[in-house]
């Protein structure tokens, strides 16, 4: 029995010890990823220092030293010489309406708000895969919404009976113009680009030739040239007094321009589809359009989602170029507000540009994240 004290037979499983503190949680992660060797530790310290010295001035400028309220420029001026004044958000506040709507008449702003609202209301369920009735939704978004938006934004008058008074596009501006150009360009350039890509791979010589000429022409000229041609040269060819809408000219230019780029992106996707897919589809007795619609395009477009979204983001940012033809997109509206001597201060420029940067980043980053989400959802055996 005495031996009973010398031997120990474990009758139940020992409780699991937690992993050492140095290998779990934040500390473990840092040891593993940031300080795993002397070299890495040095790099980490340098990296943190660089990040700190870059981010702190921005925080200092945008938040700590910022002026949030004020009536005019005096609020955003240094009270005493040498004092640092940060972002003048009071100025952005005073101009917010113009940044969002341009010089759209204030009493008609509700119409723009309805368009913004409808846009979000139709786009969000369309973008969420789990929401049913995609067909109806797409019909509403792609057919009904543009018609409604057109009449809401430009106006609707039957002779003397005025539903919505006409608002000329010359007074549109800010985010409104940016979104109108970007959304129209994006929505119209994708189908046009797909058609051009198919045309370029077509066996029919005329269609092929026309597609190639179109694509190469529009890819061969810079967007600035296109915009200048549309706004400066075109009026000289038209009879005097005839003057069709500048925004429409820009929309057509931007759409055709990005359609050419889209065509090449889509063509890349089409080329990645093995010949067997075409032959298989034909063996099933599918004709050209059903084959494309059911077999080829779903695979091809899925492959080139990053390229398509790339073109979309490029298009969104290119909208700022319309400033040179006298249209005020968001950036143009911000730049034009710099000329108001009521708010002219040293920090006015940086504040305006910071605001523009943040807004553009939000939109472009949103598009980028959504494209990654769609890629993950649609991956079928291509995931690495």
């Amino acid at each position: 029995m005495a031996n009973a004290e010398m031997f120990h037979v474990r009758t139940e499983e020992a409780p699991l010890l937690p992993a050492p503190v140095s290998t779990t949680g934040a500390i473990g992660w840092m040891r593993q990823n940031l300080f795993s060797s002397i070299g890495n530790t040095i790099l980490t310290v340098i990296g943190i220092f660089i990040a700190y010295s870059m981010i702190m001035p921005i925080i200092q400028f945008a938040f700590i030293d910022a002026v949030w309220t004020g009536e005019d420029r005096t609020a955003c001026l240094a009270a005493e010489p040498g004092e640092k004044v940060g972002a003048c958000w009071a100025y952005v506040g005073a101009y917010m309406k113009q940044f969002i709507y341009g010089r759209y008449p204030y009493e008609e702003l509700y119409r723009v708000n309805i368009v913004y609202g409808l846009f979000a209301l139709l786009l969000i369920p369309l973008a969420m895969p789990s929401v049913p009735a995609k067909g109806l939704n797409a019909f509403l978004f792609l057919v009904m919404f543009p018609i409604a938006a057109y009449y809401l934004l430009t106006g609707l008058e039957f002779g003397s009976f005025v539903v919505f008074p006409i608002v000329e596009t010359a007074v549109w501006g800010g985010l409104l113009v940016t979104l109108v150009i970007a959304v129209t360009g994006i929505v119209a350039s994708l189908p046009l680009g797909v058609a051009l890509a198919l045309g370029r791979r077509s066996q029919m010589p005329i269609i092929k030739l026309v597609s190639i000429i179109f694509i190469e022409f529009w890819r061969g000229v810079p967007l600035i040239t296109v915009l200048f041609m549309a706004s400066v040269m075109l009026p000289l060819f038209l009879p005097e007094g005839v003057n069709f809408d500048k925004l429409l000219r820009v929309l057509i230019g931007v759409t055709l321009f990005s359609a050419a780029y889209m065509a090449e992106v889509v063509r890349g996707g089409l080329q990645a589809i093995p010949k067997g897919q075409y032959e298989g589809a034909m063996a099933l007795g599918l004709r050209f359009w059903p084959m494309m619609y059911l077999i080829i395009l779903p695979q091809a477009l899925k492959l080139v989602i990053p390229g398509i979204v790339n073109t979309f983001i490029g298009l969104f940012k290119d909208t700022t170029l319309v400033l040179i033809v006298g249209m005020f997109d968001l950036l143009g509206q911000i730049k034009s507000s710099f000329s108001d001597s009521t708010w002219a201060t040293p920090s006015q420029g940086p504040t305006g540009y910071l605001f523009a940067g943040v807004v553009f980043f939000l939109f472009c980053f949103g598009m980028s994240r959504y494209s990654i989400f769609m890629e993950k959802k649609l991956h079928t055996g291509h995931k690495r």
């Binding site: 420029r73 240094a78 010489p81 005073a94 101009y95 309406k97 113009q98 341009g102 010089r103 204030y106 430009t154 000329e168 010359a170 007074v171 200048f228 706004s231 400066v232 009026p235 000289l236 038209l238 009879p239 005097e240 007094g241 005839v242 003057n243 069709f244 809408d245 429409l248 400033l323 040179i324 033809v325 006298g326 005020f328 143009g332 730049k335 034009s336 507000s337 710099f338 000329s339 108001d340 001597s341 009521t342 708010w343 002219a344 201060t345 040293p346 006015q348 420029g349």
Partner: protein
């Protein structure tokens, strides 16, 4: 849109140029009910939209004065913001009726572009800004100074000419963009900042301590800015010209927006002729005889417009200088209404 498309399609199809607008701009303007006015995309004090989206400025007031003269309504005017590149095409193509966009009157523009300058509403010119603590009171004391300016503009050439003509050594510090030039000057990178005088006053507001800087009195180039119209419509040209002249004459005769109604009963024959209580001068330019009275009532005389937009009491704080009346040491001189 279809309303605008139809003539376009028809015109293109038939290859016929509809030249209805070329002859009588005034009739067209009266028919459509507003003046289409080309302005800048934003130049402080001359044409810039305020935070409520209303256009204000010295150049804008010329257009508003025309609207007042024709329609008795300062809001019967639509503004087309134009870049420097677009401005002449917009006028030539008939997109706008008048260009009031700080445009320098030069011989080439006047003679070879099919345009007419209707007068001068601001005499601009290249000037110098320095720090007050430099103790300089004249540009002739700037010997050896470093001068900040834009690259590749006439500004740079003017500076070179001026300093060489006066036998003064200098150093040019040139940058690509206006913002960079201002930042460099503000940081003390150079002693002098030079550009058009009106621009100096506007950029001064963006300096850390605007009060520490002053604009020197010397002007080294001539930049007469004024409204422009298409050639070939003398009636419209006269209307723009006399709109401007009426504002200048009104200041000279002491007629202001506040006292214009009382002045109609004045015994001064010049005032009577200007305000249309004597003679029929308005009819000669296709308007009613109280055309000038409308301008002064709604927009004010030239001095009022100057003070409201760029004068000493505005943030810009530009002194009248050469833009004062001829009788007060300036060069503003309008032919009489008679």
């Amino acid at each position: 849109m279809s309303k605008k498309f139809l003539p376009l399609v028809l015109g293109a199809a038939m290859g016929v140029a509809a030249t209805s607008a070329s002859a009588a701009t005034l009739d067209d303007v009266k028919a459509k009910g507003f003046v289409q006015c080309g302005v800048s995309q934003g130049l402080p004090g001359f044409s810039n939209p305020d935070s409520q989206g209303n256009w204000t400025g010295l150049d804008v007031d010329v257009c508003r004065a025309m609207a007042a003269a024709i329609f008795d309504d300062v809001n019967a005017v639509k503004f087309t913001p134009l870049s420097a590149k677009e401005r002449f095409t917009a006028l030539q193509s008939g997109e706008i009726d008048v260009l009031s966009r700080n445009t320098t009157w030069t011989m080439t523009r006047d003679t070879s572009l099919g345009l007419n300058f209707a007068g001068v509403n601001y005499y601009d010119g290249q000037g110098f800004m320095v720090r007050k603590d430099l103790g300089v009171t004249s540009a002739l004391e700037l010997s050896g100074a470093s001068v900040c300016t834009n690259t590749g503009t006439t500004t740079e050439l003017n500076v070179a000419d001026y300093f060489r003509a006066n036998n003064m050594p200098y150093e040019i510090v040139a940058f690509e963009k206006a913002d960079e030039v201002v930042a460099a000057y503000d940081a003390g990178r150079c002693d002098v900042y030079t550009t058009d005088a009106s621009g100096l006053y506007a950029q001064r507001l963006k300096l850390t301590n605007p009060g520490d800087h002053m604009v020197l009195p010397e002007i080294i180039s001539k930049e007469p800015l004024g409204p422009v119209v298409r050639q070939g419509d003398d009636q419209w040209f006269n209307l723009v010209k006399w709109t401007l002249n009426a504002m200048i004459n009104a200041e000279e005769l002491g007629v202001t927006s506040a006292n214009v109604d009382d002045m109609k009963g004045s015994d001064n024959p010049s005032v009577k002729r200007l305000l249309g209580t004597e003679g029929a001068y308005g009819e000669n330019i296709g308007l009613t005889n109280d055309w000038a009275a409308r301008i002064i009532k709604h927009v004010g005389n030239y001095g009022e417009s100057f003070d409201a937009n760029v004068g000493p009491d505005t943030p810009l704080g530009i002194a009248r200088g050469v833009n004062a009346l001829w009788s007060k040491g300036g060069v503003l001189y309008a032919p009489p209404v008679r």
